[in-house]
Structures are given as C-alpha cells and as structure tokens.
Assembly symmetry: C2
Homo-oligomer: 284 residues x 2
C-alpha cells in the first residue's frame, strides 16, 4: 500500500502530543515546537488546567500552533447515579476547555468496568447513553467527540471499547459531526479487521484523530508507560498512515508516547528525536 | 445464558493444567489430583520430558487420570528455512509425545513476529503452511491440533493469532479432525465477537480444548505470569462455560493459571483452592 500524501505534506501534519514530552512545561513545549518547525500539539487537560486554560489557549494561539486534540474526556461507565452525573459534568467541562483551546477534537477514553462488574456489554451501553447526552453539547461548542478504542489489555480497568468496530458501532448511533473515532496505532496494530474499519470510518466522516506509537516488548508492569518510539517496534507506521490517508484523512498525525525512559531524558532532545523518527519512519 | 450441563457433570470435567501448580513434580501432581478427586490433567512438554515421556504416560495411566491436553506445540512463524524445519520437527515430536501420553489434543501457540518483521499477515500465512504439513501427521497419530488465539498483547512476541476468528480462519482450511481451536477465557474474554466464533467452532466440530483463567490487573512486567485465580477478576467464567457448552462442547474444562504468587505457595494448597474456586465460580 502506498501513501496518498507527499512527504512535505505529511511532515507539515506532524503534531506532538504533550504526553510524549511531559517533562516540558507548556511554554517550553511551545518553544521547542517552534524551534523544530512542529506546527501542532495535542494537549492534556491536567497540565492545561494547571497552567490555566485561557493562558494556555493564548500561549499556543500567539505562537501560531494548532491544538490538534484535547486528551481526554470519557470514563463514562459508572453505574452509580451521582458518579455518573459527575462524569458527565466533567466531560462537559472538557468540551468547554477544548473549545477554549481552539481544537475541534476531544479524545474520549471510555472507562473500564466498575468495581466488581463483569458486564462489558452493559458498560458499553452506558457509554452510548453518555454519548447521546454529550454529543449535542459538544457539537454546540464546535467540538467533535473522538471515541478511542484502547488495546484489549486495558478492557477491564481503563476502556471497555477495544476495537474500531466497537467504537464505530457506538459512534454511528450519532451524527458524524458529534461523534467519531480516534485511530491510535498502538491500540489497533494487531487487529486484522482494523483496516476495513478505518475505511468505514473514513467513508462516514468519522476519522476524527490519528495517533502514532510503536509497539515494543517486554511490556512494563501496569502496561501503561511502555509505548515504543517510532521505528523501535512491530508497527508498520507508514502502512497505517497510508491506510487513514486512503480513507480520506488529511488531518494531523499526532505522536503520543507514554514512556518512562523518554520522560527521564531531556525533553527537547526527545522532541527533536521524535521529529527525526517521524521523518524516517512516516514521512519518507 | 444458562449452562446446558449439570453441576456434578461439570465438576467431573475439571482438569488442572500442570502450569497452575508447576511447583509440584509429576508424582506429587498426580497424587494431589487423586486426593482431591480431580480426574484430568493438562501436561506441559518440558516437565514431561524431564520426567521421561514413557514414565509420565505410565504414571498418569496407572493413576487413572486423563491427559486432557499437551501444551504445547507451535512457534511456526520463522522465515529462516532451517529454523522453520527445526520447528516442524519439534512439532512432530510434540505430536509423538501427545500420542504417547494418550491425549488427543496438542495445543498450539503460533509464535510471534520474527525479529525485525512487521508483517503479521505473512506470519499468519506461514502458520497455515505449517498446519498443512502437521495436520495429517497429527491425525495419523490420533492427535488433533488446537490452535490457541492468545491475547492481542502477545501478538508481537508470542502469538500472531489474536482472535478466535483468526484461529478458525486458519483451522477451517483443514479437516476438523486435524485442526481445531483452543478457547481460553484469559485470551478472549474482552472480545465481543468471540461468542459467535465459539458457536462457529462448535458447529464445525473444532472446539478442541477449553481453558479457564480470570483477568486481573495490574498486569505484571512482561504480562506472562499474572493470570487471575478463578473468581478474582473480570471474566464471567460461568457464562463462557455455558457458551462452549451451548456450542456442543462436552470435553474437559482445564484451569490454567500462570501466576508468580500461586507458584510461591504450597502446591497442594493451591490445587485444593483451585478445585474449591472451580466449584464456586463454574460448577454451581
């Protein structure tokens, strides 16, 4: 499979997710992106709120950077009514923050099973209910919800939506301008049904975000912070990028690594390396 | 969903996989099974060969135990011709050992990606080629190959077959008496397409083995030895057992736990606890 995008165009679409270099504070991240010619950033709610949402919005806007996504809303599987109401409130605030930051995409991580529950199907239904409440609110603020399937190893404790098929089955109950999906290579690379689901998402106008990370082993304890640097692992990043492009995706390509070893290093050095690896493994 | 099996019948079908209590040597395992009324054991090649295949066969036969499976053959994804030939030879030996032990089922773990490869599809095709060579050999010895999909978190380094759909797509290229599948709840519990694939496997006479383990988090480093004790995790064991029974499966129900904490304990105590948990979470 060959890409539908030229090399310079792909490079211009690179976005660095804030978590990749979470050791950099927001001004340093912005400064490092400008120095390296990176034009987009994916931001996280916690550091943005710590800095101040309006101040963060001004900082990135004045730097001329695009906020490609806000990570993340979700965690919508609670059965307890007050817990559920709190989650919905929190997601409406996440929409407000996304709108303030000027991004049109809020990434949603659905949430795991409530304590003691074994009911995956019920949890997935509660996500649908929540999307029905949040979708119109988001669209009213110019924000699209991007349901992200997480790798099945997170199904119990983090995200009961494990495949693009499941994410699209949820999203398609609602208008595409309200709910779509996030494709992250780390989560879907193993799935031989994912390519056709990417085509389905593209055809429906629901490819709202695309993120890259490589898959390396052994996985660390807790399996959260061992995402591979681009090119270090088993994922054919060029092929997956070509797949979303073939499905009509022309949006940002966000690199999102959670990796203890990277976080222990100099953040600007990691960012420069990430750009170089993006060129080597995705652009060329 | 309700089971199609009576409680005493389910209990009589309990088999304990040797790895669950690998701290017990083979005579102690046999003795402990007899003391607890366990009638079946799933054996592993390495400890069986260390004890001697013929001696092991005699030991379990004279004790009146059934060897429900031999674990495991597989690792059939090499591209290097001599490595591939060695793997096929080794699998023929595994078939011989299964036949000597009197079990009709050899569990296959397919193997991961060769070093540096990102080609999951190619690796899966090489497994099909190998099954074409091994299937007739196995059937000639009264042994069925049972392709086991492993959880997608093992796709890179252990098993490129991640779902029952993939396993059945491979198996169905060959006669059912040659190649079927293993259903292990630990590997498939997250997958909402697995129930229909269990029905497909049952309809085709390809449900060759059924294993139980629970899913608990956090996962340990390397994600190999953190399988949950029955009842400790997110898997509805009774429902999955009912599913394989509804698909016509009346064979052994094997408990296979890889768990560092269990291995550090007294093996007979762990075995007794496993039987009690099987009664509580599967039989009743």
């Amino acid at each position: 499979m060959s890409g539908t995008s030229t090399a310079p165009e792909r490079l211009s679409r690179l976005s660095v997710n804030q978590m990749t270099v979470r050791q950099l504070d927001l001004p340093d991240l912005v400064d490092a992106c400008l120095a390296l010619g990176v034009r987009g950033v994916g931001l996280w709610r916690e550091p943005v709120r710590a800095y101040g949402v309006d101040a963060a919005a001004r900082l990135v806007r004045e730097a001329g950077l695009t906020v490609t996504t806000l990570c993340r809303g979700g965690f919508l599987t609670a059965t307890d009514p007050s817990e559920r109401a709190r989650a919905l409130d929190d997601n409406r605030r996440a929409v407000d923050e996304a709108a303030a930051l000027g991004t049109d995409t809020l990434v949603l991580v659905s949430g795991g099973l409530p304590a003691g529950s074994k009911d995956l199907r019920g949890a997935r239904e509660r996500i649908a209910d929540a999307l029905g409440e949040l979708g119109p609110y988001a669209a009213g603020h110019g924000v699209r919800l991007a349901v992200e399937p997480l790798h099945p190893m997170y199904a119990a404790d983090r995200c009961v939506v494990s495949t693009l098929t499941q994410a699209l089955d949820l999203a398609e109950r609602f208008p595409a301008e309200q709910v779509g999906v996030t494709v992250d290579t780390y989560h879907v690379w193993w799935d031989d049904t994912a390519p056709e689901q990417i085509a389905r998402a593209g055809a429906g106008g629901r490819l709202h975000a695309f993120q890259l990370a490589d898959w390396t082993t052994p996985l660390p304890e807790g399996v959260l912070n061992g995402r591979g640097r681009l090119g270090d692992g088993s994922v054919d990043l060029r092929e997956w990028t070509a797949r979303v492009e073939a499905a009509g995706y022309t949006g940002p390509i966000e690199v999102e690594l959670f990796n203890d070893e990277l976080w222990a290093r100099d953040g600007r050095e990691v960012l420069a390396e990430t750009v170089a690896r993006f060129v080597e493994h995705v652009v060329r």
